[in-house]
């Protein structure tokens, strides 16, 4: 081997070694326990990541597809027909969710369990019972089939959804396998973003019950940081009030009327609340410090919705 050949070989080998080192560096990501932990915290591909605003925008933009309902069962078609003309959303699934959500206390399903009329009669004055009967009679005249379902949540799933929001809501918590809490948490986060953006009172009320009650899965929004409070029970209550208060803004405030779901539940808890609207009960029951915290969350939720 002469000197010149040696130098060429040496340089070639050096270049090769550098290339190998570079390749190893690029493909070997986790080097510390921290980076491994960070990797664990990442969602699996395609599984409900916390979506950036642009994605959420896209998701809730309700791209309405044309629906072919010729293959649907007759009963489902009848429900869809009953929704016409839509009052709240072009997607029949969301429209049905909204109707059954806003008038949930008039549904046969809830009444079979809670016997609201009987309970009201036992607890409050006759005029209030009459008001309730009148309120529900009107609602049932408009939506006789949808308010008479026996298993509303599951039966509504038969209605095809024509929007991204509908698809997302329809999924339900399909990822709620307790063995994958991280995935559940991200799925719930995605959903709460979409629901806040939807400006739909019924969906907001539903989320107020579902989304923040899942202690075992952890926070789905940084509420503890926003409030500077690590009391999860309290943070859940504040979140609940914030979402209900937001729901009062939409669909002419139906969800916050005296016979709205949230309001009637408060009436069941304390009979002196019966017949009052949500805002009146809120002012009577929620202390000033908690009211300020509710205000903080509403402003954060509003930001998420923008």
């Amino acid at each position: 081997m002469n000197k010149r050949r040696f130098h060429s070989l040496f340089l070639l080998l050096l270049a090769f070694v550098l290339l190998v080192l570079l390749a190893i560096y690029l493909i070997t990501e986790p080097r510390t326990s921290d980076s491994l932990k960070a990797l664990y915290d990442q969602p699996e591909e395609g599984q409900g990541m916390v979506m950036p605003d642009s994605d959420v925008d896209k998701m809730t933009s309700a791209e309405i597809e044309v629906m072919d309902d010729s293959l649907l069962p007759e009963e489902t078609k009848a429900w869809i027909d009953e929704l016409q003309p839509h009052q709240y959303h072009p997607d029949p699934f969301i429209e049905a969710k909204t109707v059954t959500g806003l008038y949930v206390m008039c549904t046969d399903e809830v009444n079979n369990i809670l016997s609201i009329e009987k309970q009201l009669a036992e607890r409050t004055q006759v005029s209030l019972v009459n008001d309730y009967i009148k309120y529900c009679t009107e609602a049932k005249r408009r939506y006789p089939k949808l308010l008479s379902l026996f298993d509303t949540q599951n039966q509504l799933r038969e209605i095809p959804s024509t929007s991204d929001l509908g698809q997302l809501i329809k999924q339900g918590y399909t990822n709620d396998d307790p063995n994958y809490p991280q995935i559940y948490r991200m799925s719930a986060t995605k959903k709460i973003h979409a629901v806040i953006k939807s400006q739909n009172a019924a969906l907001l009320v539903e989320q107020s019950w579902v989304a923040f009650q899942q202690f075992q899965y952890g926070e789905i929004l940084p509420v503890s940081t926003w409030l500077n409070s690590q009391d999860m029970g309290y943070n859940n209550k504040v979140s609940w009030y914030a979402l209900i208060k937001m729901s009062c803004r939409y669909q002419q405030g139906v969800s916050c009327e005296p016979f709205g779901a949230s309001t009637l539940i408060m009436c069941a808890d304390d009979t002196s609340d019966c017949g009052l609207d949500f805002e009146t009960i809120y002012q009577r029951e929620v202390m000033p410090g908690m009211q300020k915290d509710v205000g903080i969350l509403i402003s954060h939720f509003d930001q998420l919705g923008r």
Binding site: E44, Q230, M232, G233, Y234, S272, K292, D293
Partner: protein, 452 residues
């Protein structure tokens, strides 16, 4: 440079490169293995946990041995205490009793799992804050440094007390005492004469509390009424109710199977379940309605209860923290093992008749505040009562039982509580700055109503 030397240098360099490449390849394989485990979503944590467990269990065992050298062969006869604890004052025994009560979750754990079990499992999973890792159920969540320190300290304290007051069964060489040491300590406390004014005040309040509990239990029994049908008939109804409940459960399982596949069957099953529910309810109503309230007996029992209730309520005006604590927890009918729950009485709807005769301190405070819906502000009331107890002088320091409960136990543990006193934890971490004004409003009512 001659050619031979150049060749040696070249092949030598080649060898170094090969060794380096093998090393790097091995490193890469190891890293990929870690990454696969992490992606599978299960084992990163247990990997970290395993390292921790080795260190921790060794340390805990070592600590136990250090603290309790007499360990398993230590035996005392029932009711007797070892000579080392015979000379304790009333107040010292009282503190030991409080510690033993706080240790209840530890004892419960050791009784169920044995002493060799991983003590970290006593610790409840921490509050799951946004952005932090969450772990599948059953997987041991790594403890914070503060939790580890608190756990080690409390394992020592709880086990130490167990050794001091436990009665061990020599024959089967068991390391678990056969007695409840809280009861043993309670007996010891009863038999001890307090020398200090404070000790006497506590003893007197505990006696009042015991009398109150007896009269309250009597009131409860009387309010339930007396059966007007014979026991055989009652048993027959109970049997029928059990059968119907089982049938209802079977229908639920059937409904789960067919709810999507067969709508009409699902609907029929739901209807049958609903009918069964009504039948069960009917039987329960019958059982209730056949009972007859003995008004004379009730009047008599009620008169006795009201005297006891008045006496115990007087104890709330004491400036001795322990006296207030005894009166408060008794009136609330609390399971005082769960210290973080002190300050709010659960007036269950099932005991409505009884509750009309019981007014608890948190009710008085809430009424004084003028707000509606006591349940909504239940934890505000709890924090206010606990804070008031701290103000009175109850031990709320970083090593206190109540801080240990926040740090390690509860529905979710609060690692931030470890190492702080209770008030700092409330102020810095648990209670939002806005909410603080609500809690302090309740605390001020405690002061106004019961303070001097």
């Amino acid at each position: 440079m001659n050619q031979k030397l150049l060749s040696y240098m070249f092949y030598g360099f080649l060898l170094v490169v090969v060794i380096l490449a093998v090393f790097l390849l091995n490193y890469q394989i190891q890293q990929n293995k870690h990454r696969t485990e992490a992606k599978s979503g299960a084992n990163l944590v247990s990997h970290v946990g395993d390292d921790f467990r080795d260190v921790d269990s060794h340390a805990v065992k070592q600590n136990i041995i250090n603290v309790a050298p007499r360990e398993m062969d230590f035996v005392v006869a029932d009711g007797e205490a070892p000579t080392t604890v015979l000379t304790l004052s009333y107040l010292e025994i009282y503190q030991q009793l409080q510690t033993a009560k706080a240790c209840h979750p530890f004892y419960d754990f050791w009784r169920r799992n044995g002493l060799a079990a991983d003590s970290r499992k006593i610790v409840r999973p921490p509050v799951k804050l946004y952005g932090t890792a969450v772990y599948p159920p059953g997987e041991q969540v790594p403890l914070s440094a503060g939790q580890t320190a608190a756990l080690t300290d409390w394992v020592k304290r709880c086990y130490g007390l167990w050794l001091d007051y436990g009665v061990f069964n020599q024959s089967d060489n068991q390391s678990i005492p056969i007695n409840d040491i809280s009861e043993t300590l309670t007996k010891k406390l009863l038999a001890t004469v307090p020398q200090s004014k404070k000790g006497r005040a506590i003893k007197q309040t505990r006696q009042l509390a015991a009398q109150w509990q007896r009269s309250f239990a009597q009131l409860e029994t009387t309010l339930e009424g007396e059966d007007s049908i014979n026991q055989a008939e009652i048993d027959a109804v109970h049997d029928e109710v059990e059968k119907l409940k089982q049938l209802r459960e079977d229908l639920r399982l059937q409904w789960m199977d067919v709810r999507y596949s067969d709508e009409s069957l699902a609907k029929s099953l739901l209807q049958q379940r609903n009918d069964l529910r009504q039948q069960i309810h009917q039987y329960e109503v019958e059982l209730e309605s056949q009972k007859v309230l003995n008004q004379d007996a009730l009047n008599q029992v009620l008169a006795g209860y009201q005297i006891q209730d008045q006496k115990l309520n007087q104890a709330l005006y004491s400036d001795v923290a322990e006296v207030f604590y005894e009166a408060l927890t008794t009136l609330e009918n609390q399971q005082v093992y769960w210290l973080s729950l002190i300050g709010f009485a659960n007036h269950s709807i099932t005991t409505q008749a009884l509750n009309q005769y019981r007014i608890t301190p948190d009710q008085l405070v809430y009424e004084a505040s003028g707000w509606q819906n006591r349940w909504l502000h239940s934890s505000d009331l709890r924090y206010a009562a606990q804070w008031y107890l701290c103000d009175l002088g109850m031990d709320c320091g970083p090593q206190s039982p109540i801080v240990m409960h926040y740090c390690l136990l509860g529905f979710s543990s609060s690692p931030r509580a470890c190492g702080q006193n209770l008030q700092s934890f409330f102020y810095n971490d648990l209670i939002s700055p806005n909410r603080l004004q609500d809690v302090l409003q309740f605390k001020n009512h405690y002061q106004e109503l019961f303070g001097e």
